[in-house]
Symmetry: C2
């Protein structure tokens, strides 16, 4: 049997560890939900124990692994494998925590650590919707918005390792929607899951009717919006279409910058379905017009609900 | 003596051909202004004759050249060296004209053809303000706005060869400023030299006073705006600052996407000087805030008035 990949998805809500074949198929996984409040040392031990558990119950030894890839929902200084920001992980308090080194200490096989959007983008290139393309722009539409840039066969990471923060590009500077980053009118503020409460509030202020429970706006998320749309909710529908228009502008901007053969959309919001996705495409094509000299594919992620783990695992396959 | 580079700058106003040393120093050049209305075959012969003239008066043979690089002010299908759009060259009417092949037929040394912004970006990386950096984002602020992307040591061109069309990224979708591309609120419409007439008109409509000659708005260009600013013109000053704010947003978007160590600004509008450049930086830093994990250099082009020719010549040095 070929060596397996181990993927560790360090997300903001769950920590998933999976065994993945070299063609991207998930073999088995374990999940924990109590990781975000753990301090550094504890979190690293939890990861170690989850990997060991997974190996044990599959009757495997560490030597069955080609390596361990870790996808982290935050900024990393890539070359050093060091955490820069960790707003999703209140337990992480050590400045510049050397995440890769700390995990590596518990394993003999190589450990790679990267931002989760980069990891998923690379997985789409290796065995997802971007397979067969040398250049793949992956855009995740989720609680946040971010991109993974595979250019000419390689993950492009930039100076620090934070390239692809496409969610913070500004497309409506005079917007009254403010992002957690402090700026107005970045894609994150206009179209990310985390911004849905303020998007709903804005529509309420304009008098749109809704069946959403609006007593506590903070509880509004992508799933609730989807359910409301499905029951014919006018306001939820308007929110989905507005998000789609901004994502369409983002896609167009990515097209002008990268002229890629394929853009892959992933993240939970793609479950909003055709109302959302068709509007994104419509906006994109209306802007691109006759500037599309070659056809571009706009594809949906093929990695499914385990995209995080499979993405993390794919990092192991990256050549230095 | 080391072999020389020959650069051919096929611009919208002039055709310059230069001999350039391998460190980027210009040795000699010839310029023509009557090229844009020539048909394909004539234009190619004009290029051949200018190269020959330059060689002759420097007592050189073609074998003294390492190769010939051509920077073209329009869209090219890079791999084939074929012209896609040629709005700057009314004489070019043949669809998909194979520019590289047509020029190559007249020379034994290799001929490389690329978009002018790519060429200049590569030259900044090889021997300009981006020397010593593996990744250089070059942004030209001129009649148009465009980028040349040198990523991890290589020019990134995308699928067709039209990557880096950063001027057409949209940053103000509800703007009333429309670009030649048909879209509203792209950087080109908001801040390029070609858009100055409509920017001036907008300020006039808002009642700003000016000493500019506004009988024929089409004559308003970067130079006239600069002269007006220098004599204390309120409207011209407002135009410069507004352009700078949008370029600052563009720079910030480039930073979030590429996380580059350096962004090089070039093109004629940088001659607007400190009023413009300091405002661009101010906008950039106010947006980047605490998201700048490593310092980024914002530098001005070092290639000077012959950036076009030197850029074209640099293409010869590119490894396949």
């Amino acid at each position: 049997m070929d060596a397996l990949l181990c993927g560790v998805d360090l997300g903001g809500t769950k920590l998933s560890v999976g065994l993945v074949e070299q063609d991207g198929r998930l073999v088995d996984k374990v999940v924990a939900y109590d990781h975000t409040r753990k301090a550094e040392a504890e979190l690293v031990l939890q990861i170690r124990d989850l990997v060991r558990e997974l190996l044990r119950r599959n009757r495997l030894d560490e030597s069955a692994l080609l390596g361990i890839g870790v996808g982290f929902a935050g900024h990393l200084r890539f070359k050093d494998g060091v955490v820069i920001t960790s707003s999703n992980f209140p337990g992480l308090r050590i400045k510049n925590f050397p995440l890769r080194k700390a995990i590596q200490e518990h394993f003999r096989v190589p450990v790679a650590v990267d931002n989760d959007a980069n990891a998923q983008g690379y997985a789409e290139h290796r065995f997802g919707a971007g397979a067969g393309y040398d250049t793949v722009i992956f855009l995740t539409l989720s609680t946040g918005i971010g991109a993974g840039l595979v250019l000419d066969g390689k993950l492009y990471r930039g100076m620090t390792g934070t390239a692809g923060e496409f969610g913070h590009t500004i497309v409506e500077p005079s917007s009254d929607l403010v992002c957690g980053c402090g700026n107005r009118g970045c894609l994150f503020a206009l179209a990310a899951g985390q911004s849905l409460p303020q998007l709903v509030k804005k529509k309420l202020d304009r008098g749109l009717k809704t069946t959403l429970e609006i007593e506590d706006l903070r509880r509004i998320d992508g799933r609730r919006i989807k359910e409301a749309v499905d029951r014919g909710d006018e306001l939820a529908r308007a929110v989905v279409l507005e998000c789609a228009d901004y994502v369409g502008i983002g896609l167009y901007n990515l097209f002008q910058i990268f002229n890629p053969p394929v853009i892959v959309l992933g993240g939970g919001l793609i479950n909003w379905g055709p109302l959302y996705l068709e509007r994104i495409e419509k906006k994109f094509y209306s802007l691109a017009g006759d500037m599309l000299f070659d056809p571009i594919r706009i594809a949906l992620s093929k990695l499914g609900p385990d995209a995080g783990v499979i993405g993390a695992a794919a990092l192991v396959l990256e050549k230095p």
